[in-house]
């Protein structure tokens, strides 16, 4: 008897639920079927008075029915909630712009500097910095630029006014190479370091020349025989390969810098045409990148190292030039212009 009644309740409950239209009706249904005074609840309360064999059958059945009805109720409630929203009234124009939140931009040189630093630090290079106003000693003398020698003409130099003729002379550094001796004075080989920074040349500005630009110095030193010209080629090719995301070949050409011996100009295979020849590389297949060489023993001596013991390469290249290549910037002056129409593109 009881069993049939429970089954009946289950069926009635299920059937009546589908016919409900409003949330009031749903509430009434809940009271009727699952409320404290509902038949099912009463029935469950009275279970204890049933004979054991009937209890065994009805008990689980009544509980299952209750759970089933609860589940149905929850599902219907959810359905009602969605059914009763006026989606048209809720509608907004989702194609309208978002509420603006200001965001800033890093300068392209900074972006590039970080990128370059990340590649080098991943190869175990430290990052060092130095002063922008450098003494003649570090910028020239210690780098084996003889006094009164034409090699000093290789870099048009700004000079700071001297108070007295005999005072040491200072200058806005013409290259980051001054950092070489500074770094070696406080570090012993083996060493690997890069030194990014702003440098200055006394030359008139136009679309491709700036008196202020950014450079990188890369220095790697160990005892003789460890860091060779072949090592330099490897490090340079690894760096540029990573930087441009493709295989890059390095070409060395003879050059002269007082602080390296041998000295090179180095080119990389054109990143646009992979060395086949295109307008960017003026059909040569190569892009001129910078100067490099094996550290001159005189520079080691200036840093307090013993002559003929250590060996390494030094390498400098223009971050500014790299930025212009990478972002295809056509006018170098934009970099220092502070024009936000430019900065906000990066």
């Amino acid at each position: 008897m009881m069993k049939e009644r429970v089954e009946q309740i289950a069926q009635e409950g299920r059937e009546s639920l589908v016919t409900l239209q409003t949330s009031q009706e749903l509430e009434a249904w809940e009271v009727q079927y699952l409320g404290r005074k509902s038949e099912l609840n009463t029935l469950l309360k009275g279970l204890k008075d049933l004979p054991p064999e009937e209890k065994r059958v009805v008990g689980p059945l009544a509980n299952a029915t209750r759970q089933m009805l609860w589940a149905l109720l929850e599902a219907t409630k959810k359905e009602f909630l969605e059914k009763n929203i006026d989606w048209q009234a809720e509608a907004i124009d989702v194609t309208a712009p978002g509420i603006p939140v200001a965001v800033g931009h890093l300068h392209p040189i900074t972006r590039l500097e970080h990128e370059v630093e990340d590649i080098f630090t991943s190869m175990g290079f430290a990052v060092a910095s130095g002063p922008e106003v450098e003494s003649e000693l570090y910028n020239f003398d210690a780098l084996n630029f003889p006094k009164d020698h034409p090699s000093r003409d290789m870099q048009d130099t700004f000079w700071l006014k001297q108070e007295k003729k005999k005072d040491a002379r200072f200058l806005p550094r013409t290259h980051t190479s001054g950092g070489q001796v500074r770094y070696m004075e406080t570090h012993k080989p083996p060493l690997r370091v890069i030194m990014p920074g702003r440098v200055f040349r006394n030359e008139a500005t136009d679309a491709s020349h700036e008196h202020t630009f950014h450079q990188f110095e890369c220095l790697m030193v160990d005892v003789e025989g460890e860091v060779t010209v072949a090592t330099f080629k490897y490090v340079a090719e690894t760096f540029f390969g990573k930087f441009f995301g493709k295989k890059v070949t390095v070409r060395l050409r003879p050059s002269f810098f007082p602080f390296t011996e041998p000295s090179f100009e180095f080119d990389i295979s054109c990143i646009l045409c992979d060395g086949k020849g295109c307008p960017t590389c003026k059909q040569s297949g190569w892009l001129e990148i910078g100067g490099a060489g094996m550290v001159n023993q005189k520079v080691f001596e200036a840093a307090g190292y013993k002559r003929g013991v250590y060996q390494g390469f030094a390498w400098g290249f223009g971050l500014t030039r790299l930025a212009m290549m990478k972002y295809k910037i056509t006018d170098i002056r934009l970099l220092m212009s502070g024009d936000l129409r430019f900065i906000r593109q990066f």
Binding site: A102, G104, H105, L106, H107, I109, T110, H114, T121, G124, A126, V127, A128, S129, P131, E132, V133, P146, D148, H149, P150, S151, D153, W159, L160, K161, Q162, P172, R192, V193, R198, T212, E224, E226, T228, V229, A230, T231, K233, Y234, E237, L252, R253, P254, S255, F256, E261, P262, S263, M294, N296, Q311, M336, S337, G338, D339, L340, R341, I343, R344
Partner: protein, 797 residues
């Protein structure tokens, strides 16, 4: 320097084309910056022979010439030149040719006679100014030959960038040709010329030479020629000079220029009759004057070295000759100087008087003191045919002879440096090709190298390794990964801090701007900064880049004003090095400085620029984990010594101080500064001294247990006399609230008459219990009491 390919080819014996030579040089020696055809402008001009000449029937001054310009090709040409004669070889421009002056040659009829071309003067060919008659060519000029080709004007110029250390040998045709021969892999051919000594008569007519400036003049060689004729140079010499970019003047000057191009040795010709007594190479006297060849009269410095006779200075050593003793058309006796001057001395003189010349350019690169002997022989070979005259004297003062030197080269080092094994025979070959003496040291893996004096750049093993490397070819060196211990690079904390600051700022609203490190008086004064605290450039590009920036603010204000043309509001920042000169010690100190600048929209309320920036700074501190526990905002009037403050609004600026140290400042701009930069009062800046800022960044972050017992919240509104500031009230809340007041936050400031009210949310609590209302009331009352006691404040009714 521009080199004639023809001349290089002639001297080096290379079979390679100009392009191939350029490629060879680029790979193994010097950068070739351009390869261009020499533009002589006389295409189509041919050598002709005047076979017959007749008077023009209708014109007195014209003659009609029959000119043979090729086999069986005789043209009738009307010519007005007075010097035309039968049998002459002449330069003929045929119809269709366009001459350098732009004259287009066509067949014309002159007074009834047909003229099929033009017989040219030097001027018409662009070879000089002479227009007095036609150019008469040597007898052996082949009829019908192209003029430019026969006289070697059809040439290619190689613009070669000779490196500063190779000026002593390669700034000359012989030197570069020697290099090309070596790169071609052929044995040196020039050095082996006959070394016959000059024959000088026993009665030496040359003036005596005395060197007193011994350090500056290691050698002075002079040749005395009697009875020379100053005239025009032969065409072949003119062609050589013109192609190399040197203007022919007269045979004497041309000869010295030619020899300089050939050998690299600058020379100078004195009119010997204008030299009185002995020649002295000495320092200039104080205030001594010298009238130079270029007409300029120099006032000499006692550090300058001059060539003088017994009366006065005649020439500025190694730089330029003097006008009074120079060769003129009337000169018959000459004294030729072939000297060696010290590079540094010449360079100083050149710089002192701003006189860069071909001679100084070479001397300052330290020429070979043994070169004058060779050049004297070349001179003796060249002069008789060129100028006639007799060599009647020579002086050669060369007190300290320079000899070749030896370098011992351990073979292992070659491989150690280059990272490639080069067989011994090749190493030997490379060095020998360059004309170096090479000997293997017995039983040792060492080479003994002898370097001739023309290569002062080769001083040690590494210099030699460079020569071996470049001759061998750097392209043969394969990239090789280094073998190194695994090592974590040393941390650069300031650099890492800089990066995190920049990245944070760019992630919020700030655009990073880079400005120059220089500005001018105008910027300094507009920003009210003291000029005397600025480091100054000795040689600025322009007056507006005369000073090193003491602050980023002035240039950022300029950039802000420019950006306002395109943007209504923005935030920018710059991390820059700035420079300050100490008034007493005059020393320039450099520090890194971070400047934030915010430009608000038009019609912003009073103080909103300041508070806008302060709010940005507060979140910046939080994001960067700046320890704000000991940080306070102080009135800027307390820091009169801080230079940057003069740019800021005196009553809308504050100094950020941590434990007595100035970290930075925030402020709106001084009204006068805004006016000077044409900006409205909606700009605020924050300036940080980055070292100090980084110093208060938290080194480690530590967890604090979450509050277990809920805070009791109450609001308080206190009314004070108007002078009381938020910081004062916060301080008293801090003191009176003691340990129970956990947090407070200002939510309103209300000013009425002379009074000011502040409303705060207060959060009371303890870590070990829920506070009772009695405890809380007591704390609240003590706040009110302290407000009353300290500032005469009261609870706002």
């Amino acid at each position: 320097m521009h080199y004639s390919y023809r001349w290089l080819k002639e001297l080096s014996g290379t079979k390679k084309s100009a392009e191939q030579v350029a490629r060879l040089l680029l790979t193994h020696a010097f950068e070739v910056e351009s390869i261009e055809k020499f533009s002589h402008g006389i295409d189509g001009v041919v050598v002709g022979r005047v076979v017959a000449l007749a008077q023009h029937p209708d014109a007195d001054k014209l003659r009609v010439a029959q000119v043979e310009v090729g086999r069986n090709d005789i043209r009738m040409i009307v010519c007005g030149a007075p010097n035309i004669a039968e049998g002459q070889r002449v330069a003929v421009a045929l119809p269709g040719v366009i001459l350098p002056g732009g004259i287009k040659i066509a067949a014309v009829t002159l007074r009834g006679i047909e003229s099929n071309g033009m017989i040219c003067s030097k001027k018409e060919l662009g070879l000089g100014d002479d227009h007095s008659g036609i150019l008469v060519l040597p007898e052996d000029a082949p009829v019908g030959a192209l003029f430019a080709k026969h006289f070697q004007f059809d040439d290619t110029l190689l613009e070669v960038k000779i490196l500063p250390d190779r000026g002593s040998d390669a700034l000359a045709y012989q030197g570069l040709a020697r290099e090309i021969t070596a790169l071609d892999g052929r044995a040196p051919r020039l050095a082996e010329k006959g070394k016959k000594t000059l024959r000088i008569p026993s009665y030496n007519r040359a003036p005596k030479v005395v060197i007193t400036a011994k350090k500056e003049c290691p050698r002075y060689l002079g040749l005395y020629y009697q009875g020379v004729t100053v005239k025009e140079s032969p065409l072949w010499l003119q062609a050589k000079l013109m192609v190399s970019g040197s203007r022919p003047i007269n045979n004497i000057v041309d000869a010295t220029n030619y020899l300089m191009l050939l050998t690299g040795q600058p020379m100078h010709a004195f009119d010997a009759d204008k030299v009185q007594g002995a020649i002295t190479v000495r320092y200039a006297k104080k205030n001594e004057k010298l009238k130079l060849l270029n007409g300029e009269t120099l006032k000499l410095s006692p550090e300058d070295v001059v060539i003088a006779d017994s009366v006065k200075a005649l020439a500025l050593a190694g730089v330029m000759g003097g006008l009074d003793s120079s060769v003129t058309d009337e000169t018959t006796n000459i004294f030729l100087e072939i000297a060696n001057f010290d590079g540094s001395a010449v360079r100083r003189t050149k710089n002192r008087h701003h006189l860069p010349t071909d001679a100084s350019y070479r001397f300052e690169r330290n020429l070979d003191p043994n070169l004058p002997s060779e050049v004297a022989r070349e001179t003796a070979a060249l002069f008789p045919s060129l100028a006639g005259g007799k060599l009647l004297g020579m002086r050669d003062v060369y007190p300290k002879k320079f000899g070749s030197w030896k370098i011992s080269l351990p073979l292992a080092r070659v491989e150690n440096v280059l990272g490639i094994k080069i067989p011994l025979f090749q190493v030997v070959q490379h060095l020998a090709l360059l004309g170096l003496g090479v000997k293997k040291v017995a039983d040792e893996p060492v080479l003994a190298i002898t370097v001739p004096t023309r290569r002062p750049d080769l001083r040690n093993e590494w210099d030699l390794i460079e020569e071996i490397g470049r001759l061998h070819g750097y392209d043969k060196i394969a990239p090789l990964p280094p073998v190194l211990p695994l090592a974590v690079p040393e941390n650069n904390e300031l650099k890492a801090f800089e990066r995190s600051v920049k990245e944070y700022l760019a992630h919020v609203s700030f655009d990073e701007v880079m400005t120059y490190s220089f500005y001018g008086t105008k910027d300094v004064l507009a920003a009210r900064l003291p000029l005397e605290r600025h480091a100054e450039l000795e040689n600025p590009l322009s007056p507006d880049q005369q000073y090193l920036c003491l602050s980023s603010v002035p240039l950022l204000l300029r950039r802000a004003a420019e950006n306002l043309r395109h943007f209504g509001q923005f935030d920018i920042f710059e991390w820059a090095h700035v420079f300050e000169k100490d008034l007493k010690t005059k020393r320039v100190t450099e520090k890194e400085s971070l400047t934030l600048m915010t430009v608000l929209p038009q019609k912003s309320e009073k103080g909103s620029a300041f508070f806008g920036m302060k709010g940005r700074v507060d979140v910046f501190f939080e994001a960067l984990h700046i320890d704000t526990g000991h940080l306070s905002y102080e009135l800027s009037e307390k820091f009169p010594a801080v230079l940057e403050l003069v740019m800021l609004h005196p009553t809308r600026s504050t100094c950020i101080v941590a434990e007595g140290k100035l970290i930075g400042m925030i402020g709106e701009l001084h009204p006068a500064v805004l006016k000077a930069f044409a900006l409205e009062p909606r700009v605020a800046v924050a300036i940080f001294f980055t070292e100090q800022l980084r110093a208060i960044q938290k080194k480690e972050l530590l967890f604090a247990p979450l509050q277990k017992f809920p805070y009791a919240l109450r609001d308080i509104s206190l009314t004070f006399p108007g002078r009381v500031m938020v910081a004062d009230v916060e301080q008293l809340l801090h003191e009176a609230g003691a340990s129970l007041l956990q947090k407070f936050a200002l939510f309103d400031i209300y000013e009425q008459g002379a009074e000011k009210s502040f409303a705060f949310h207060l959060s009371f609590g303890a870590s070990d219990r829920t506070l009772s209302s009695v405890e809380m009331d007591a704390a609240f009352d003590s706040i009110v009491a302290l407000a009353q006691e300290r500032f005469g404040g009261r609870l706002r009714s």
